[in-house]
Amino acid sequence: MKNQNTVIIDGREIPIEGERNLLEVIRKAGINIPTFCYHSELSVYGACRLCMVDVEGRGLVSSCSTPPEAGMKIRTNTEEIRSMRKITIELLLANHDQNCPTCPKNTMCQLQNLAKNLGIKKVRFKNTAARAPIDDTSLSIVRDPNKCILCGDCVRMCSEVQGVGVIDFAYRGSESMVVPSFKKNLDSVECVYCGQCSRVCPTGALTPKPETDLVWKALDDKKKIVVAQIAPAVRVAIGEMFTLQPGVTTTGQIITALRSMGFDKVFDTSFTADLTVIEEGNEFLQRVIKGEKLPLFTSCCPAWVKFAEQYYPGYLKNLSSCRSPQQMFGSLTKEMLSMELGVKKEDIVVVSIMPCTAKKYEAKRPEFKKSGVWDIDHVITTQELGTMIGEAGLCFTDLEPGSFDMPFGFKTGGGIIFGNSGGVSEAVLRFVTEKVPGAKTDSYEFTQARGQEGIRELTVTLNGRTVKMAIVNGLGNAKKIMERIKNKEAEYDFVEVMACPGGCIGGAGQPVYHDNRVRGKRTKGLYENDRMLQLHRPQENPYIVELYKKSLEAPGSQKAHNLLHTHYKARKRIFKEGVTISGTSGTTVPLEVSICFGTSCFLKGAQNLLHQILEYIKTVDIADKVEVKASFCFEKCDSGPMIRVGDVVIEHATFDKVRAAMETALAGAHGNK
């Protein structure tokens, strides 16, 4: 008996079943060891010191970083441990904003919970921290450093899982803080707005940016027609805010609630998800036939789109030109509804209810504003909707289920599964297998597209042509796939990228959860929704067939293009101007010559070019007319070295090209005088 692979926890014998650390074994035994900095998805950090346990013969160890060994005798709740946990929480509370009732994380905050569970009655330490300003410049996330407990979860999430690394620890000791570089605001750095940092933040230091006030204002305005669209992922998660299990579908209650609050029309984003499948499916087939711009990358995740614009601008032509379902809905609704109801577009207010924080940013991308009218006016998260339901005094679970308005409330199963990672791919497969002659499958389900892993691959054959697909969630995994593609280690025809683990159901706007199994339950919920619908293939959606017949004509048509497609642009990651190498003190506006010193251009000889250009300037004695700058990255890495002379951007720059451009520019300037 004793030789078995077991440990003894508080007197009970518990088997070791491959757990990485004591913490997981102890939790399996039903003892909830408190932690802040431990996350099964992130690397072990060991900073919060709450998970200490007593191991006989070794003393106090942190259970998150100690591997279990057979025969260990562990005690989780000695007086010493309790006392130390209390002191740790007291120390954190001493420097924390203790205004819980007004905090967005009220009742959902782990620090608050622990203070309650550990029976903290008094904080015996003084506040030593200076008050830091709140950063609410970002469209998606609010950063309140006064509530940060420096657990580092956000840092590791952004860096390890999402591969971006926009925030990190800075300074040292009691001056430590989690900040973007140079303490800049979130809107001035390369944040992609995925919000996963706020998802793992145990306190109210990082939270999604609220917009409910604006929505209430619109609802109260009698002159406005307020329209709601509900994303698939919302309906299987919002119930968690009202004591229902994750994965329980509450679509009907949501619709009734929205109507009670004053929404004039309630539609389903799954409708435009179906539409996206048609447009994107067609786009994909075109590309396969022509053999160009493959792989096709999905574009419905705005965090992924910004990520691609920042880090892989060379592949922007591969992104599907389709808008996301949210944005398709916005432009379609404003166009169709204004005609149908005979109202001005500016009097229609479209509100999206999304599981996502990046959608708030997507809605405000400049290309989604037509003649001064936004396609989407406001985006609220699942959490915000829950708050509004509470504000309206509605007893959510008691509401009579309602139904969507038509025509934008009808969907097939293909549209609904968009909320899961692999959903878009599966939906597209349901479309293309019917479109391509001889490829139709008996079942509408493509379970190979489903699963929890971050990178999944599958192959299908369409009329003899093998199509390789990759399904990715988590931007760090997207980075891996991109590197594989860049290095020609792998070849795909279709790549689906979702920034959030598990897909949209794991979005940062979803109700706060601490158990990763919640995601699996939400995923299951959506597939159940799919099963229960009568139609599963997007092309069968009669309202969509009607839409094409009546207005859009055909997928990819000019009309479809105007309303349903978009374009992308390479983005500078760093918003600073660059380093001035040789400035002028002249009074005339100098000609600016910018040389890209990004990695790729550097390797292609940017430094040599700089030298030659400076020599040239000296020789021809135009130092007072030219200002040379080193820029951070033109994001056209395939075409390097990149040099900009005035307004002209030169790709594959050589010294001769640059000199010619400089001569032209200076001559032109002269001529104009």
Binding site: R49, I87, S174
Partner: protein, 632 residues
């Protein structure tokens, strides 16, 4: 690129031949301390003046016949007396040598053969002149074992190191021993880590040796950050090759082919000397591929720290070498299993590594004759504070505090530097991680285990002697401020805990403490000690706990009586007028900026404590010394 096969014997022979040709040697100490006091101009002056005298001078040993060889050495440890100049073969030691003295030394000693009396060290007790190190109390009572060549050899001359039988142990390790036998020898010797941990070096090496990984590393921890400690600095400046030799042997023992010497940036001379030593070792083939023609290869890189005390902790040092913030990681996994870049790594202190070649040469059994059974060998200490002789010393484990303070250090001094009969109040040992020793420990045979039992620790070897005028609460606060400043900020207990401990100590020192303060201080101190992530946090409360143990009454005086018994804490100074001495001249009352002093002319005056702001203006004004109670 080696041009010839590495032949230690031939190098030694060559060097000794050259050395024989020289009749006299002048060694000018060029350790940081003496350089600060101006030893480099002294060195220059020797060279130029000797040439003026038409004496054949060598600054480097060549084959021609030279009369006098003038060389620089590393720290000799007697920094207070620098610049130090040693004359061989007479072994005369001159102290506080100035540029202007050089001429006299040359004519009197080098030419005339007589010592210059006024430059010799005077024993503070006997008042007798001491000719050389063997006569000086400070040196006589030491056992300079690891430090033997520091202060003699030219640290920038690898040939001299070899002439003194350097690198023979490395050769033995590479050619005659295998990994297992090396580990066993070090394990048998009982060598314990000299950085503070006291972990058996042989065991650490053995654990690393058995890890199955083709890539392993050896790291030398030269990040000696303890304020008041300069042992490692002296070894790196004075005998850098001993460290390299130790690392080569370690690399053979565990199977590593790459090493890093991490030196704190505040030691620019040590960095320079280590870099030069590595360069020279590479040149003659002691580092690189197939050392001594064996299968073993080992390369070294010297990395400079960037000003973070916490990087002395091994996992933090590893993070720093990897280009990250120097924040520690939880252990397990230990560096022996997963260290630099996730590979098995041995990290040893400078002194530990410098001891290794000596052990391999003399054998474990012989080594064990030094020191105590539980702590064999010697330990260097940086002796500072209120004593006559401060400096770097080396004694065998088992030496008592009495021997160090009274014999080597020459006794306790008062604030003016004069010998005091009061004895010391406490000796802080182990720097900011350590505890204090008091009178009852005077005859404690100091080693790792006995000190641990007494609630202190050897630490890196800082020994600060404090006289009776020292406020122990203030000392605890001083160390806490240091640790708090250096905390990396990762774990809650250290980051917030040390800050709050500092606040509580400030409350005590500034008179704001209440009855709860002491209990809270203790409770918090234990929590930080037990729960912190790394050694910095775990040992940060030691000075507090240690001073509380022995000087609780002093804390209580600060808290209950709002009074500092030594008068050091300005905020608690209580100025009072001695009625017997007061002449009633009213000068103090007039000087007082807040009108706290009252009294009639020619009658004793009185200070209203409630109004007094403790500025001390009255004390300065009183011509009769009638006002006392303030900090001096």
């Amino acid at each position: 690129m080696r041009t010839h096969e590495l032949d230690l014997d031939r190098i030694k022979e060559d060097y000794l031949k050259k050395q024989d040709k020289v009749s006299r040697r002048v060694i000018v100490c060029a350790g940081t301390g003496c350089v600060a006091n101006g030893s480099l101009p002294v060195y220059e002056e020797f060279v130029t003046t000797l040439m003026k005298h038409n004496i054949r001078v060598a600054v480097e040993l060549k084959t021609e016949e030279e009369d006098v060889y003038v060389s620089k050495s590393g720290c000799q440890g007697f920094c207070q007396m620098g610049p130090l100049v040693t004359i061989l073969p007479e072994r005369i030691l001159y102290t506080k040598v100035k540029k202007e003295d050089v001429e006299e030394i040359i004519s009197a000693t080098l030419i005339g053969g007589k010592a210059v009396e006024r430059l010799l060290y005077t024993d503070s007790n006997t008042k007798k002149k001491c000719k050389g190190v063997n006569d000086i109390q400070f040196y006589k009572k030491q056992h300079r074992f690891v430090l033997k060549e520091c202060g003699i050899i030219d640290p920038e001359d690898v040939n001299e190191y070899i002439a003194k039988d350097g690198y023979r142990a490395a050769r033995k390790a590479c050619l005659e021993m295998n990994a297992e036998s090396i580990c066993k020898e070090i394990l048998d010797s009982g060598l314990r880590g000299r950085g503070g941990g006291g972990f058996p070096a042989g065991r650490k090496w053995d654990i690393t040796r058995v890890q199955k990984n083709a890539k392993k590393y050896v790291i030398c921890n030269g990040d000696e950050g303890d304020p008041g400690a300069f042992m490692d600095r002296s070894v790196m400046e004075g005998n850098p090759h001993s460290v390299i030799e130790g690392m080569i042997i370690a690399s053979c023992a565990i199977g590593a082919d790459e090493g890093v010497v991490y030196v704190r940036a505040e030691y620019p001379l040590a960095v320079k000397r280590m870099r030069k030593a590595v360069l020279d070792a590479n040149k003659i083939g002691i580092l690189g591929k197939n050392i001594f023609g064996s299968e073993h290869s080992f390369t070294l890189n010297v990395m400079e720290g960037a000003g973070a005390f916490v990087c002395g902790e091994e996992t933090a040092m590893i993070a720093s070498i990897e280009g990250k913030r120097g924040m520690p990681s939880p252990k397990p996994p230990f560096p022996a299993q997963s260290g630099l870049w996730g590979k098995p790594t041995v990290i040893n202190n400078v002194e530990t590594l410098a001891t290794v070649p000596l052990i391999i040469k003399m054998g474990a059994k012989e080594y064990r004759k030094l020191g105590t059974a539980g702590s064999p060998g010697t330990k260097t200490f940086a002796l500072t504070g209120h004593v006559v002789n401060t400096g770097l010393i080396e004694v065998p484990f088992g030496t008592t505090l009495r021997e160090i303070v009274n014999n080597i250090a020459g006794g306790v001094t008062d604030d003016k530097g004069m010998i005091s009969n009061e004895g010391f109040k406490a000796v802080q040992i182990g720097g900011p991680s350590g505890g204090c020793l008091v009178d009852e420990h005077l005859d404690l045979a100091m080693d790792f285990d006995s000190l641990k039992k007494a609630g202190a620790m050897v630490g890196s070897g800082g020994l600060v002697v404090m006289n009776k005028r020292t406020c122990m609460v203030s000392i605890a606060r001083f160390f806490m401020q240091f640790t708090q400043n250096e905390s990396c900020g990762k774990c809650v207990l250290c980051r917030e805990g040390t800050k709050q401990l500092l606040n509580l100590l400030d409350d005590i020192i500034e008179g704001r403490a209440t009855d709860e303060t002491l209990a809270l201080l203790e409770q918090l101190a234990y929590a930080v000690q037990k729960g912190s992530l790394c050694g910095l946090g775990k040992t940060a409360p030691n000075p507090v706990l240690s001073t509380l143990k022995y000087f609780r009454k002093e804390y209580e005086a600060h808290i209950k009586d709002k009074y500092c018994p030594t008068g050091q804490c300005k905020a608690l100074a209580k100025f009072s007028i001695n009625a017997a001495q007061c002449k009633g001249c009213t000068l103090c009352a007039r000087k007082c900026p807040v009108g706290a002093i009252s009294g009639e002319k020619a009658k004793p005056h009185v200070i209203d404590q409630k109004k007094c702001i403790k500025c001390g203006a009255c004390v300065a004004a009183c011509k009769f010394g009638a006002i006392g109670g303030g900090a001096k």
